[in-house]
Structures are given as structure tokens and as C-alpha cells.
């Protein structure tokens, strides 16, 4: 990793060539070589990757459209690794919401942005009640029958099969680069696993209950009005972003809660974004969700 050239077989081929007399080489008294033009196709993949992996974030969507070689290189794991090495990736919080079947996303780069970037996903109709997860730079929007894979670099949306069993209010998580969904299906204890490589779902039956893990520890409460009783109208979504935890108010209005319980405080409305820094142990406030994004699901993507 530190030295990408050390395991480079090309050096050997050049070394080999230099050992054999080259009959094509012009004689020493004739210094002008046969003019050969160097084009981008003369660059081996590793050098082209060095160039392409450094493009600005805004230029990424163009790369795979240029030719099939570029599309292939952009998809290679080394491309992502090079971008991480060159500090070109950033923890980004994505929220996806569905309004009348149209999917809207908003993204917010925690360290860099002062506002949310809103865009709509190019998909005709989607049902509410979906879950959102991320593997690598791709976001998976898991609906009841359909799953969408959205590329955060290129904006490309691909339709895939949803889980085998019909599920409502199910749980979903990514473990070891695979998606797992559980619950929400009447009488079934089956857990399903999705492998992004084979693009297939697999059903597991009779899952054993976990014997638990670690220990819970109380952290500082988020900066919400004291003793506000959250009910089912106000919902928060919790996302880990690097060494931070972000609490996003995805539904409901806190002022309404306060009004109903007859309290005078106001000003905490909707779409709150609260950030907890695990290292310092302190909460801070992020930029509120844009108004058009409501009833959303959140996911953090390193892209």
C-alpha cells in the first residue's frame, strides 16, 4: 500500500527488454528516435488509476461514461482505496424520503457542508416503509418487493430484487459487506441475507438467539428540552459517522409536543440533526434537514 510500485511486474518486462539487443533502435550517430506518440491507452491501468482517482468529486459521474475501460477502473476496489489514501472521500450523511412515490435524497458532508444537497432519484414509483443501508459507496433502498441500488458517485440507480419474504417494519443491517433483513413478516423467524456480488437473496431459517454482547453505558443526553416526552409522532434515526453518532429527527415536530404538554418553550421544530462526538463526549447541532425531506431514512456513506 505504501509503495504501489514495489509489486509492479512491468519493471521486469522493461528490465528484460533492456537485456536484449534491440534491432529497431536507431544507430548512435542518429539521435532522433522514431517519433511515437504517447496516448492515454499507452498508460497501464495502475498509472491511469493514479490519474483518474484524483479527479474532483463533481467529475466522478463522467468517468464511467467515457469508455468501458474507465467504467471498469472506477468500479475496481483499488479506485476507492486510492481515493481514501488521497483523502478524497468524506463521511456523508444521506437521507432518503418518499413523497407520493417519488424518492428524494439529501446529502450532507459532516465536515465540509453548510447545507444539505437535495436531489431526486430517477425512479418512477416507490412505496413508503423502506429501509436504507450502504455498502461501500452504494446505497441500497430496500422496499417490500423491490430494492434500489444507488451509486453515490455517479447517481446511477439500478433496480434489484427485494427480500424474498414480504416484510413490513422490518430490521435491516449490513454485516461484513452483506445485507441482513429480519422481522416484519407474519410468523416467520427467517432472516435473509443479500450478497452484493452475486446479487442474490438467501433465506436462513431457525436463527439462534444471540447471547448478548458487551455492556451498556449511559452517555450524555442529547440537547433536547428537558423532560420532553417523545411519543410515536416524533421519531429519530441514529447513524454512525466515523467517530460520531448522528441523531436525525426524521418525523414529527417537537414544538407540537411542547404545546400539547402546555410548556412555553419553542424553537425546536422539525428535522433536527444532533451530532454526538464519541471522542469528546459532547453533543453539537448540525444543519437541520431541508423541509422537503420528511419521514426519511438515513445512512452514512464514505464516498
Amino acid at each position: 500500500m505504501s509503495d504501489s510500485n514495489s509489486c509492479n511486474s512491468r519493471h521486469f518486462s522493461w528490465l528484460m527488454k533492456s537485456c536484449f539487443p534491440n534491432t529497431q533502435q536507431p544507430p548512435p550517430h542518429h539521435p532522433t528516435p522514431i517519433p511515437t506518440t504517447t496516448t492515454i491507452s499507452s498508460l497501464p491501468d495502475d498509472l491511469l488509476l493514479e490519474c483518474l482517482s484524483r479527479v474532483a468529486h463533481s467529475s466522478l459521474p463522467h468517468l464511467p461514461l467515457v469508455c468501458s475501460r474507465w467504467a471498469y477502473l472506477l468500479d475496481s476496489p483499488i479506485f476507492h482505496l486510492l481515493r481514501i489514501r488521497n483523502h478524497l472521500v468524506c463521511f456523508t450523511l444521506f437521507v432518503v424520503s418518499c413523497s407520493d412515490g417519488a424518492l428524494l435524497t439529501a446529502s450532507y458532508r459532516l465536515e465540509n457542508d453548510n447545507e444539505w444537497n437535495i436531489s431526486s432519484l430517477n425512479y418512477p414509483f416507490f412505496e413508503n416503509g423502506f429501509r436504507v443501508l450502504a455498502i461501500g459507496r452504494r446505497i441500497y433502498v430496500i422496499g417490500r418487493t423491490v430494492m434500489l441500488r444507488c451509486d453515490t458517485w455517479t447517481g446511477k440507480v439500478v433496480e434489484l430484487h427485494g427480500p424474498v419474504n414480504l416484510r413490513k417494519k422490518f430490521a435491516a443491517a449490513v454485516v461484513g459487506g452483506k445485507i441482513y433483513v429480519a422481522g416484519g413478516s407474519a410468523g416467520a423467524t427467517a432472516v435473509e441475507e443479500y450478497d452484493p456480488k452475486s446479487e442474490k437473496w438467501r433465506v436462513f431459517n431457525g436463527v439462534r438467539k444471540s447471547s448478548g454482547f458487551g455492556e451498556w453505558r449511559r452517555i450524555k443526553s442529547p440537547p433536547l428540552p428537558a423532560q420532553v416526552r417523545l411519543d410515536s409522532t416524533v421519531r429519530f434515526s441514529c447513524e454512525a459517522i466515523g467517530e460520531k453518532v448522528v441523531l436525525v429527527q426524521v418525523n414529527g415536530c417537537i414544538d407540537d409536543l411542547l404545546r400539547r404538554s402546555g410548556r412555553p418553550e419553542r424553537g425546536m421544530k422539525e428535522g433536527l440533526v444532533l451530532v454526538y462526538d464519541c471522542v469528546v463526549g459532547e453533543w453539537s447541532r448540525g444543519v437541520d434537514l431541508p423541509e422537503v425531506i420528511r419521514r426519511s431514512a438515513c445512512v452514512c456513506v464514505e464516498c
Binding site: N5, P31, I40, C51, S59, L65, C67
Partner: protein, 159 residues
């Protein structure tokens, strides 16, 4: 002084302090393999002159920070990469072969910067890339991502 020989049989004398910025040559010198002339069978004289120009300017990288010559070096770098695509690729390949990390970085970043805000068509034309996508694939892309081909921020000029 170290003598370097390009593949068109031209010899160049370079100070050792400059040339050891190349990890490859540094290793050769340390291993005692650089007694007379170091042949560089895949670098032509034109490219080698550029590389030596860079090495001579960057000879005391560490000192630049102390003496406040950083701006000067930055300006030199900006001017240095102001070259055609072919020449840039030649320098990238030479820098990779000679293992000059900073030069690789400078040139690869320049290549990446040149792609910024360029339309797909402009990129293909600029780099003489043959479009190997089928007409259907291309049409699908244009439907899915019309912004990649046009838009106010997209620059279609080729330079």
C-alpha cells in the same frame, strides 16, 4: 555527478543530490551499480530533460520550507505541468519508472484537474479515446444522465 543516458543515446550529467530523488537511482547508487553511465532504455531525451529540470528545481525540498521558497516552488510546479497530454503521459511513465513520488503526484493531479467540468465528449476528444460503448448503451446514458453531455457548468472546449 551522475550520468544518465536516454534511449536515444543522449547523455546527461546530473548532481547526485538531485538524482537521488529517484528511488530507483538512489537504490542503484547505494548498491554500487551506478559506476559509469545509467542507461534509461524507456525514457527519451525530451522527457528526460523535463524530468531533470524538475529534479534540479526540487533539489532541496526540505530547505524550501525554511527559506520561504515554497511559493517559488509552487509556481514552478504550476508552470512545469503546463504541457501537452502526450508529454504529460511521458513524464508520468518516466516518473513511475524512476520512482519519483512527488513528480508522479504532481503530474497525475494535473491530469485529473484537466478533466474537471469537461463533458464526456470533450474528454474523449481531448484524449483521443475511441468510444467503445454501443449506440444503445450510449443512448441509455444520455437518457439517464443528460447532464454529463451538456449543462451550464460543463465545458466542451478541448485544450
Amino acid at each position: 555527478m551522475v550520468k544518465l543516458k536516454s534511449n536515444d543515446d543522449k547523455e546527461f550529467e546530473v548532481e547526485e543530490a538531485a538524482v537521488i530523488q529517484s528511488e530507483m537511482i538512489k537504490n542503484m547508487i547505494e548498491d554500487g551499480c551506478a559506476t559509469s553511465v545509467i542507461p534509461l532504455p524507456n525514457i527519451d531525451s525530451k522527457t528526460l530533460i523535463k524530468v531533470i529540470e524538475y529534479l534540479n528545481k526540487h533539489i532541496n525540498m526540505g530547505k524550501a520550507a525554511e527559506t520561504g521558497e515554497e511559493d517559488d516552488l509552487k509556481e514552478f510546479d504550476e508552470q512545469f505541468v503546463n504541457m501537452g497530454w502526450e508529454e504529460l503521459f511521458d513524464v508520468i511513465m518516466a516518473a513511475n519508472y524512476l520512482n519519483i513520488h512527488e513528480l508522479m503526484e504532481l503530474c497525475c493531479q494535473s491530469a485529473a484537474d484537466r478533466l474537471k467540468n469537461k463533458s464526456v465528449r470533450a474528454v474523449r476528444e481531448m484524449l483521443k479515446i475511441t468510444n467503445d460503448l454501443t449506440e444503445e448503451e450510449e443512448q441509455e446514458i444520455i437518457n439517464d444522465a443528460p447532464w454529463a453531455f451538456e449543462g451550464p457548468e460543463i465545458d466542451d472546449t478541448v485544450n
